[in-house]
Symmetry: C2
Subunit: 309 residues, 2 copies
């Protein structure tokens, strides 16, 4: 049997305390690498590189590891784990960060284990762009590199970020980030600004308004799957990235048609993420549920012009 | 040759003065019935019922009439025409109404000419729901009735509006309106609330975030066509309604598959409306342009699952 394509994520591993209008959770598994890996591993094995403190509930992480997540790149460091707490407004479209305690994440210097350096698919979660560049110096010849970033780095590490963009294939960010990066409020123009600086594709996540894949000369739009009850939006974007990258790694196909399918798998994973706190929903579902939601996505947007005017 | 299905719109005929970040226009053709008719007539003849003052530029209206708009239902009354002026914010997502002068529109009592009373497709633009009900008493046996409304009537004429809903097939409103009407901020739940009160379908327009068709048990989403330069959003919703209804009237088919196509034609018309001030863009284009944009819509959302996991 063929060895599956390696899929590597480097990012945060956190403990999230979240309050929404529907409830609250304390110190639940969170962080970009965790959401990415738990969502992605429904489709394809995921290799994780990150750091936790000695207080991290490694048993819970290892339980998730049994789902096809390789944790050999997770370092346990002296100190406290990264903690984030936030509170969402009544319609879940706004959130306030109550507290961010970086702990051992403040000194995170990703070291890619030898066993992961041949990964063909690499996702650089939202960390300092200099560290993202450093990861790229450690991996051999990835077939596809995607990265996320945030306003903090766009403002504070712009030069490093622009250098990073020259080396990545996909920038995967939310709408406010691509606007701030490009200085253009118009998302499609902003995405094309990015395309001129290195990436071959830009994925712009717009939360409840879906996501857009911008390629040179072609755009694909996938709506957010309409859920009756959104419970907690935390991690939706990283779960989207996990579904997107894992679908590509599993199929090994970078055609435009397949990138579109990957967007739909990403959107499906984002929709599962928000149905429960933390990664709880992913522990309830199987590939069959994912496929059913992907088909529901198709029914949501499909129309035919066979009987047209 | 078969007589085409009659398509009737009752609504406002106005003179709009609009300022956007890109320019301004003074006393240009506007109003719900005008945008509806000019967009719709690209697909199918439209019958208009409305009122103007003696100061209205009837020559301009008649020029448009040559495109398949029957103006026999337009009454010229003593007094000033309805005037609206507004100013849009830098990203066109907010607007301030600077002035509304109802003029002869304040005493508008729609009288449907005998020649229009057999219309199979009826669109009740945003006027007092008691007047919308009165229109329904004048038409014979329409095949499909759609209506629009606004927050002013939702607040001030709720009883009449709920009575109207019992007699219409399609409610076509924007997101803030369906939220206010239902008291539920969640658009899909709000739309289902409406479905329990009469209409068979609800169309929710979300501006730059597209539009949703909610049927019992099935939902269709069409994104707004991504334009590089949105010039003036005024009239986009009424142009959407014109495209939607004219497509249905032209095809005479109310199947779910055809309603979806009608949504895409509506979205295409909305996208043309915003490319110029007033109805100017519709005077530049032909059916071929509309069809090309509909095909571009398909490319924007299409994906296939033939090669799926």
């Amino acid at each position: 049997m063929e060895t599956p394509m390696g899929l590597l994520v480097v990012g945060s591993i956190a403990l999230d305390s979240v309050e929404t209008p529907f409830g609250r959770t304390e110190e639940a598994l969170g962080g970009s690498a965790v959401f990415f890996a738990v969502a992605g591993s429904l489709l394809h094995p995921v290799q994780v590189v990150g750091v936790v403190g000695r207080d991290y509930p490694m048993g819970e992480l290892q339980r998730l590891g049994q789902r096809g997540i390789d944790l050999r790149g997770v370092t346990v460091a002296d100190g406290e784990s990264f903690r984030w707490s936030g509170k969402y407004g009544f319609d879940l479209s706004t959130r306030d960060t109550l507290e961010t305690r970086l702990g051992v994440f403040a000194n995170f210097r990703p070291v890619i284990p030898e066993a992961f350096r041949d990964a063909e698919f690499v996702f650089l979660g939202n960390i300092d762009p200099e560290l993202q560049l450093d990861v790229l110096r450690q991996v051999h010849r990835p077939k596809l590199v995607a990265c996320d970033t945030m306003n903090y780095w766009i403002q504070g590490k712009r030069t490093a970020l622009l250098r990073l963009l020259q080396e990545v294939d996909v920038l995967l960010v939310n709408d406010s980030e691509v606007r701030e990066l490009s200085g253009d409020w118009h998302i499609h123009r902003a995405a094309r600004w990015v395309l001129e600086r290195g990436p071959k594709f830009v994925v712009v996540k717009k939360g409840e308004h879906g996501a857009v894949l911008v390629e040179p000369g072609r755009t694909f739009y996938v709506p957010a799957y309409p859920l009756d009850d959104v419970f907690d939006p935390t991690g939706a974007g990283d779960s989207f990235a996990g579904g997107f990258m894992a679908y590509l790694a599993h199929t090994g196909d970078l055609s435009s048609a397949n990138l579109r399918r990957a967007m739909v798998y990403g959107s499906a994973m984002g929709s599962f993420a928000v149905e429960r706190f933390s990664v709880a929903r992913f522990e309830e579902i199987t590939l069959a549920d994912v496929r059913a939601r992907v088909r529901a996505h198709k029914d949501l947007v499909h129309f035919d012009l066979d009987a047209d005017l």
